[in-house]
């Protein structure tokens, strides 16, 4: 599994993340802490007027390769996505997004940290 996790695409994504930084026009800013390790991520989201989809998103945080790569890919994926669809995203969608066949329960928490933060932010 380790070779799968530390593939070039994941390593590069974690090192050169997309949408990193703050967002001036954010309508919500929320942080999420992974309780098993204390890593955290802060997301800035800008919703449309009807509050039905994400128009823009950025994030800041520190964590392992998996949490950072997952957050980065996810930030690109959810731009323009409806809140309904975001709330339907599950473990398997994120695994697929990262190209992982399997993930252990502990690393699943790393992978899901970004999604948890986004869900918190769109809840208001």
């Amino acid at each position: 599994m380790t070779n799968d996790l530390y593939r070039e695409t994941i390593m590069t994504e974690a090192r050169q993340p997309q949408n990193y930084g703050s967002l001036k026009e954010a309508s919500a800013i929320r942080s999420y802490i992974n309780p098993s390790c204390g890593d955290s991520v802060k997301v800035y989201v800008k919703l449309d007027q009807e509050k039905k989809k994400i128009l823009d998103i950025s994030w800041e945080g520190n964590g392992c390769v998996i949490s950072m790569a997952s957050m980065s890919f996810l930030s690109a994926k959810v731009k323009g996505m409806s809140l309904v669809k975001i709330n339907q995203l599950a473990v398997n969608d994120l695994k697929q997004m990262l190209g992982l066949k399997e993930i252990t329960p502990s690393r699943e928490k790393c992978m899901m940290m970004g999604l948890m933060a986004i869900r918190k932010a769109i809840k208001g």
Binding site: T2, C37, D39, G63, S106
Partner: protein, 420 residues
Amino acid sequence: MLGSKILKSQFPILSRRVNDRPLVYLDNAATSQKPLKVIEAISNYYSQHNANIHRGAHRLADESTKIFRESRDTIASFFRADPEELIITRNATEAINGVAYGWADHQLKEGDVILTSMMEHHANFVVWQEVAKRTGAKLEIIGVDENARLDLDDLEQKLKTLPVKLVALVHVSNATGVVNPVKKILQLIKQHSKDDPIRFLLDGAQSAPHLPINFHQLGADFYAFSGHKMLAPMGIGGLLIKKELLESEEMHPWLFGGGMISSVLPEKTRFNPNSTERFIAGTPDVASVVGLAAACEYLNELDMRKIEQHDRKLVLYALEKLTQIPEIKVIGPVKALSNQSLDRLGSVAFIYQAVHAHDVSQILDSEGIAVRSGHHCTMPLHTYFGWQATIRASFSVYSSTNDVDALIKGLEKIKQVFKL
């Protein structure tokens, strides 16, 4: 011999392979592995003697009751405590909660001070935050120095100036391996006790597996431990309480129900005067008590003094190797205080520059090496030092310098994967 192949062979799980490599188990501070002697003791109890204890006038109930009592005696004697000073709990966390509910809730009032420290495991921290909320007592936190040792000046200052009623400290830190100077702490507590005695609780979760414990000489009023960190099954542990606190009923039972009573009337219940029964409400986990007793016997056979020496040797060896790796920053003390042996036991913890602790442990896992990464339930300490997450390798009786060598070799793979 400790760390030998023969000793390792007594722990079935250690012959397992992980990722097609021999398992190198260095996560003993989280939980230790179990020798065949313990596994068989539990299995034998269930195959031959299982029945509920007490009040059964049949053969199996008598056997079970006898085994339960003898096991309790073995466990108490392992800690050089009297059998009535031992309360069986699920683990150290439950033991500390027991002190909170059975002692602190009715002994503390608004304005009283509970002293704990920055290096505590959450088990000896969150509990006191909650007690403070319930009783109105104030929680004060003793700081640590730059090597994560307890700041004794801060402790003395707080004892001198505050109305302290309880000092609750870890004996051996699970995050850094720091061994707190219990004698010195006790001396300070005695020196600054005013009219009421200041009670002293030691969280022994990480000292029980590595140090010979003589509860009477130790001088603490409460000592909490977890069986699963000392070769026994999960879900069993204990709280040692000084006899005088039980006799004076300063310590109350905190769980109520069957087994702990002497008589129950519609209007009033009398509790069992015998503390070995007063603190057991409901059916206890007899098989795990049997397993814990078997673990105590096994540790006695190996000799806790030798275990301590073995552990010290491994810690020094690991520190020597780790400090030679430029990318690694060891956390906690590396050098002994003058005229003393290094006050660090059980584990070594470190940070790998520019690589997250999770990634380090994941890569080590691919080499069959089990270590732990994260905040190790010591978030206050990690936050204080700004450590996001640390990597911890921890030892037990079967650990050897070969295991440390495997760890050091495994760490070389980090550079390869991260192209450093």
